[in-house]
Amino acid sequence: MREVHFILNGRPVSVTADENELLVDTIRGRFGLCGTKEGCRAGDCGTCTVLLEGTAVRSCLLLTCSVEGRHITTIEGLGDRDHIHPIQQAFIDAGAVQCGFCTPGMVLTAKALLDRNPHPGEREIRVALSGNLCRCTGYEKIIKAVQLASQRMDPTPETE
């Protein structure tokens, strides 16, 4: 057992965790943040994606003890009922949500992408989302949602 301190959705938190405890279990089981889903527990599906210092990572492949002092953002850290993040709004408007089980991971992967590159091309979006499986949508409207969010968040791209 080890005491681990990290920043979860902007707030300092601490937990006493087993050395082999997975971050997905800490987030869901100890902090009750159920927006992070679990689809395979093997790093294949991307459903449990969270942001580690702004980078999209799979929380089923991270040990809780390894995030000491780091910033973790889950879907609950992106927006709430009264503050809908533009990426979330774009997913709604584009019809990118079906069963919704992949959606939190998709939204966070999109966030990491748009923070890195506010105006990605379709190919870059496909590459960025390729680690997040979706069985419902064919990704079509998810990609449209990322494009829509990109336009809305920064409507005047720099011309090269």
């Binding site: 992106l78 949500v97 919704g100 089980f101 064919g138 990704y139």
Partner: protein, 770 residues
């Protein structure tokens, strides 16, 4: 005056979207985390596909601290059998193991780790038996029975069979200028929904029953399938289904495995129990799309007019019957979307010791469409005719019949030809495919056309719903169908709001609760929008007529002159003269006018013909066409899907955003089925038991998907709608196969067509030519 706003056809935002994008939507696994003192159930599964179970020693598991109970077959509260269509699946194995997903013992413990440790401590002894894995062998006289005493298939390994016969196929083939004879093979495929099977079961201490919070396609069907295993009457099995993380047919039946485990453990311990499959268990145990083999002869004149079809189809049923209209569907759709005057199709599904086949989006039709649409392209090649021209020459038009004798009717929506013309126009069928500058890359284009009926086609295929007016003029609707991701909730809300004349925000659909809804039928067979939608229209129309009657008295007008819009009843042409619906509801209650009704709808009765399969199975059909372009690297066999254009005639569109989503998602599952998905088994044991050994399409495997919605209204559908869920999955595989044929001149007859298969075929041709 007649300017009534319509909600039908509007891209209304689905009610669950916001909660889902914000991570606030609660799935069953989340409900478990929020409950205190809930036990966790786990199971020990057989390590082999066929064995005799000799003994099970649970003493070490029972002694582990934190274990609350361990159950074997002798500890069950009711019948040791359950199933969606027939009770042939044991709750816990008793004597014989029939596939590797048969559970041997259940454990309930205080947490997951303890339950897993306890399962590892159970000692089970087996006498291995030779698995019977080839359905063709199991058909032979004298083949040992997979089920000694099956409730339906007594004395036979045939789970279900069907035949379609009209005209004289043998004579017509003998006189045909051209006869194509081919063998087709399709693989098992997994639903691969991201949320695995799960269930939270809670004993009802007050009324003595059980509450199952479980995914499924029908709360009523879940109840019916499991009540006997719990030793309870149907009325004591309360099933609710919150939102589900994908299903595609799979959780209709496969989720029962987990629900029955949670249920018997909850009844035994008197405590809430949560059970959930791991991804590996989900892939190994849950039902699959049926693997099939079809031997087919298709006859035609030298002018390309189809004359006759003969087919013999064998389906690998696996160990249990599950949902099995596969022989029926593969027979009735054996001739695809064409006029074929003579046909003889026989199909049987046969038990084996493989994982069982269950419902999977398309239910036998992807397999059928693959075979006929491949043969159409082969025939076009043989004739030197354009594949679209050949299709149009034989295409079903008004008054023509499919091989079951059912006549196609324009008034039920017949947009087949339009779908073909739309995709051809969009993809530029008349222009040759642009070739790559790279000599190693060959490009090709292919097309396929399909049809798919709405409804199960069985006489009991009816829908009922409750419609329940509230004192403030809002409406509660009770249905037993589920929100699996498809957007049914949005469509049902729109239909209710439109019919009653209130806004969507005033409608609440109480979905998937067998105690709060009448028998609705299941969320299957692309039937919900049409059947349940119609039931809602009927129920809301009853309420509307009652309220207009009451409003007529209040406004001193005849009800025929009144209309409701946005919850206000007014005189047509004199909007000043009006009364809010909520006031009318109160007045109705004071005048003893009932505020609740049951809406119901049944399609025209079909009487299935078990002798020759000549019947009018579905009241309406959805039609579609898909055209694709591929690029093949002839050095490696790797090919990419460059373009996909799909047009589906789904009747009147209720919600275009959701309908497009259904088409795009279905097309993608069809693409996966064509190019990569293959559930592999070795000696009955799953090889594909992770997402890295069972591949499904990622965003990198797909082009931008182009979708065209064609609207040929169904006079019997709610506002003209037809079904949309399943048809889009059925055209991709033959379209891709035909594009590969166009690109490299090699016809494939089995799925999936992997790069390895393409490379092997290219090498084989090289050897032949050398």
């Amino acid at each position: 005056m007649g300017r009534k706003k319509t909600i039908i056809g509007q891209p209304v935002i689905r009610p669950d979207a916001l909660a889902k994008v914000q991570g606030r939507a609660r799935y069953i696994g989340d409900l478990f985390l929020e409950r205190k003192n809930c036990l966790v159930g786990r199971a020990l599964f057989a390590p082999c596909s066929h064995a005799r179970l000799l003994r099970v020693d649970t003493s070490a598991a029972e002694a582990l601290p934190g274990v609350v109970t361990v159950m074997t077959a002798k500890d069950l509260p009711g019948l040791n059998a359950y199933g969606a269509a027939a009770p042939d699946k044991p709750v816990l194995a008793d004597g014989i193991i029939r596939y590797q997903g048969d559970p041997v013992a259940f454990v309930a413990a205080v947490d997951r780790q303890t339950a897993d440790r306890a399962v590892a401590l159970i000692r089970a002894e087996y006498e291995p038996l030779e698995p019977q894995l080839d359905p063709r062998e199991n058909l032979r006289p004298g083949a040992p029975l997979i089920h000694e005493n099956h409730p339906i298939s007594r004395g036979s390994n045939v789970s279900s069979k069907w035949r379609v016969e009209r005209g004289d196929a043998a004579a017509a083939l003998a006189q045909s200028d051209i006869v194509l004879e081919n063998d087709f093979e399709t693989q098992m495929a997994d639903h691969a929904y991201l949320e695995t099977e799960n269930c939270l079961a809670e004993p009802d201490e007050i009324e003595g029953g059980i509450h199952l919070i479980a995914p499924g396609h029908s709360a009523h069907l879940n109840c019916r399938s499991l009540a006997a295993a719990f030793g309870l009457p149907h009325s004591k099995v309360h099933v609710t289904t919150p939102i589900v993380g994908g299903s595609f047919g799979g959780k209709e039946d496969s989720n029962l495995e987990v629900a029955v485990m949670a249920g018997v453990l909850a009844l035994k311990t008197g405590r809430p129990v949560f059970c959930e499959y791991t991804r590996e268990e989900s892939l190994r145990n849950s039902g699959k799309r049926h693997a099939t083999r079809s031997h087919r002869k298709l006859g035609a004149t030298k002018d390309g007019i189809l004359t006759a079809l003969e087919a013999d189809i064998v389906v690998d049923k696996g160990a249990y019957r599950s949902i099995d209209p596969i022989p029926q569907r593969m027979s009735m759709y054996g001739g695809g979307v064409y006029r074929i005057p003579n046909a003889k199709v026989e199909a049987r599904s046969v038990f084996t010791h493989h994982v069982y086949g269950c419902a999977f989006r398309g239910l036998g039709v992807p397999q059928a469409m693959f075979s006929i649409e491949c043969q159409m392209d082969d025939l076009a090649r043989r004739l030197g005719m354009d594949p679209v021209e050949l299709r149009l020459k034989n295409l079903l038009r008004e008054g023509d019949s499919i091989i079951t004798g059912q006549v196609m009717r324009a008034d039920r929506g017949l947009g087949l030809e339009k779908c073909i013309r739309e995709v051809c126009g969009r993809i530029g069928w008349d222009r040759p495919v642009e070739q790559s500058g790279d000599p190693n890359i060959r490009r090709g284009r292919g097309i396929a056309a399909i049809m798919y009926g709405s409804g199960t086609g069985y006489p009991d295929d009816g829908a009922h719903c409750f419609v329940n007016l509230q004192m403030d003029g809002s409406l509660m609707v009770g249905i037993g169908t589920a929100e699996l991701g498809q957007g049914g909730l949005a469509a049902m809300t729109q239909i209710a709001a439109e019919t009653l004349g209130i806004s969507c925000s005033m409608v609440n659909v109480n979905y998937s609760d067998n105690h709060a809804s009448p028998e609705t039928g299941a969320t299957v067979a692309s039937r919900s929008t049409v059947f349940v939608g119609n039931a809602i229209v009927r129920g809301c129309t009853i309420l509307k007529e009652r309220m207009l009657g009451c409003a007529g008295k209040l406004l001193e007008e005849t009800p025929e002159n009144l209309e409701i819009e946005d919850g206000i009843i007014s005189v047509r042409g004199n909007e000043e003269k009006s009364v809010p619906l909520r006031q009318v509801v109160r007045a109705a209650y004071m005048s003893q006018v009932p505020l609740t009704a049951v809406g119901d709808w049944y399609p025209p009765l079909n009487r299935p013909d078990p002798v020759n399969g000549q019947d009018d199975r579905m009241h309406t059909y959805t039609f579609g066409a898909q055209a694709v372009e591929v690029s093949v690297d002839i050095g490696t066999g790797v090919y990419t899907l460059d373009r996909s254009v799909a047009a589906f005639d789904i009747g009147r569109v209720i919600n275009p955003l959701c309908a497009e989503g259904q088409v795009e998602g279905g097309v993608t599952q069809g693409i996966g089925y064509a190019m990569m998905e293959n559930f592999e088994l070795k000696n009955g044991i799953a090889v594909s038991d992770t997402y890295h050994s069972y591949l499904i399409p990622t965003s990198m495997d797909l082009p931008s998907l182009e979708t065209i919605l064609v609207e040929a209204p169904n006079e019997l559908g709610p506002y003209g709608a037809k079904g949309v869920g399943e048809p889009p999955v059925t055209a991709a595989a033959p379209a891709i196969r035909n594009a590969l044929l166009d690109a490299i001149g090699i016809p494939f007859y089995s799925l999936p067509i992997t790069p390895m298969k393409v490379l092997a075929a290219l090498k084989a041709r090289e050897r032949e030519e050398a």
